[in-house]
């Protein structure tokens, strides 16, 4: 009786995983079809629509990378009289504030908001909310300090706001320091799967497009009506994504608005970053699952996709659970259908965590992008997935513990950036001498 029950649980878990694999196959085929039918237009449309734009750049101890993003802000092709750049120096203890202040002296559209020890260091959401108070633009965009956007990215992003249903936009994140080492190459693979296929497919299928926390932004009135970012959730980007959709707006993904990020360079940094993402995402799942189910503004297909999106970081935990359950079942009782279900567990191990993109989604993403060398690393995705199992399991138990004891113990473990990505930018001209 017990074994039959365990078999039923095992079957349920693997069928759930199979649902994800199917979902991502649909995404893969959709992105592939899109790429075959249309070539992305790199010419900005609707140039007659030029709203005022505020750009928020939260920065905490980013002296090695802040100059890169600020220099790029000065090179943007968007009308400077309609641009406001706010650097939020979040209680930095290094030269971040000093570098930003130097830019602020030369360029009148760049301002620095200094947060002291008492107010700062409470995480990105808190810094963004502080910056938001000073933003005057009709559109509010966010960029992380380690990012380097395209020069015409603002035109590409804001043109989507012409549609009043669009409450937010999201551009594409591309890894800048990909050739640096194996970790950065594997992160690049994850990003390709996540943005080239996943986000694009979700956008064109009319599902939940995710705001990634950077390289994107909001219509100011929408952001104000939502009350800004939630400071109690570590994944403030996913959290606000759901609030935008629950308020009846859409998020538009703009594939040709590319921004280059400095990916984590070591397994230790990878652990810290993914733990924060996993924990934050799980917090969102607890907060929004019921809201998504009850919402009258979401279509059924959006509700299903929204719930699957909220459950992404539970998948490595479920993979571990299926191992714990499946192996004794192999030993104790051997049913004919267990090997077939086991195949699903095996396939799901070759997935990129973050969007649970199976290897075929990542591979097709590299194919669409025309990348050959990075494809050869795909078998190694199994190791990143295995590495993510303890990360997500720890995050799961920590979230569960905080739910049980009622204490919200959020610690924002900031990702350190080395500035090694600078060497991959061509025409590296320093305009300020430090």
């Amino acid at each position: 009786m017990l074994i039959e029950f365990l078999e039923a649980v095992f079957a349920s878990v693997t069928i759930f995983m199979a649902a994800y694999l199917l979902r991502h196959y649909v995404f893969t085929v959709t992105a592939l079809k899109n790429s075959q039918e249309k070539r992305q237009s790199y010419v900005s449309k609707n140039l007659d629509y030029t709203p005022t734009v505020s750009i928020l750049i939260p920065a905490r101890n980013e002296e090695k990378v802040i100059e890169r993003v600020l220099r790029r802000m000065t090179e943007l092709t968007y009308q400077k009289d309609k641009l406001q750049v706010i650097v939020i120096d979040d209680a930095s203890t290094d030269a971040t504030g000093k570098i930003a202040a130097q830019y602020s002296k030369i360029y009148n559209y760049i301002t620095v908001l200094k947060r002291d020890k008492n107010m700062g260091g409470r995480g990105k959401a808190s810094a963004l909310n502080a910056g938001m108070k000073y933003a005057t633009g009709e559109i509010v965009l966010c960029f992380d300090a380690d990012y380097c956007p395209q020069k015409d990215i603002i035109e590409k992003l804001v043109k989507e706001f012409k549609n009043p249903k669009v409450g937010a936009v999201q551009g594409r994140v591309v890894v800048l320091n990909e050739p640096q080492n194996l970790v950065t190459r594997l992160v690049a693979l994850e990003r390709i799967g996540g943005y080239r296929v996943d986000q694009e497919a979700r956008d064109s299928l009319g599902l939940i497009t995710q705001f990634g926390g950077t390289v994107g932004g909001f219509r100011r009135e929408v952001l104000e009506s939502l009350g800004g970012w939630d400071e109690n959730i570590l994944a403030e980007d996913t959290e606000i994504t759901f609030r935008v959709y629950l308020a009846g707006y859409r998020i538009k993904y703009v594939a040709d608005a590319e921004c280059y990020e400095e990916a984590v360079e070591s397994w230790r940094a990878y652990w810290k970053q993914r733990y924060r993402w996993a924990k934050g995402h799980m917090q969102c799942a607890f907060k929004h699952s019921m809201n998504v189910l009850k919402s009258k503004k979401l279509k059924l297909i959006e509700k299903i996709d929204g719930l699957l999106l909220l459950g992404i970081y539970f998948m490595p935990v479920l993979a571990l659970f299926s191992w714990i359950l499946g192996i004794p079942l192999f030993v104790l009782k051997f049913s004919q259908w267990i090997p077939a279900l086991w195949m699903i567990v095996a396939v799901s191990l070759y997935s990129a965590v973050g969007n649970f993109a199976p290897f075929y989604e990542v591979g097709v993403g590299t194919y669409i992008d025309g990348r050959t060398r990075v494809q050869w690393l795909m078998p190694l995705l199994i190791f990143t997935f295995l590495y993510n199992i303890p990360i997500c399991t720890k995050a799961f138990f920590d979230v569960l513990a905080s739910k049980l004891n009622g204490k919200n113990s959020n610690h924002w473990d900031k990702t350190a950036h080395s500035g090694n990505g600078n060497c991959y930018i061509t025409n590296h001209v320093r305009i300020l001498k430090r």
Partner: protein, 129 residues
């Protein structure tokens, strides 16, 4: 449309290869299962891509050969190991078999992508010329 025809052709070819291998080499059903799974996956994940049918077919035939060899050797090894360990290894074989099988399948598929992409890039270069 062109890719859908490629997929239909791929399914037909996969079925033909499985039947040919099975009846000419008389191997066991486990290897046949591996071949069926490989062909199903390969057709679903490679044939919808933009590229020449010839290259896809060549990759698929090579893949079937690799699948047959890998699974035959692994199965023989598992049989010997199971006999030595009083059947314990057969459990290990069942658990690790699909994961190890996928390791070469993913590698082979990624190489096939490169093989296909190179032809696409060469085609694009010709048009540019």
């Amino acid at each position: 449309m062109r890719e859908s025809i490629h997929m239909l052709f791929g399914f037909a070819l996969g079925a033909l290869l499985c039947i040919t291998f099975y009846y000419s080499l008389h191997f066991n059903e486990e290897i046949l299962q591996a071949l069926v799974v490989f062909n199903l996956f390969f057709v679903l994940a490679l044939f919808p891509l933009n590229g020449s049918l010839q290259r896809k077919v060549v990759a698929m035939i090579f893949g079937n050969g690799t699948c047959f060899l890998w699974n035959t050797i692994f199965y023989q090894f598992a049989c010997c190991a199971a006999e030595q360990t009083n059947g314990t290894f057969s459990i290990v074989y069942l658990i690790l078999g699909p994961i190890l099988n996928l390791f070469w399948v993913v590698s082979f598929w990624s190489l096939s992508l490169t093989f296909l992409l190179n032809s696409r890039n060469r085609g694009a270069a010709k048009i540019a010329d």
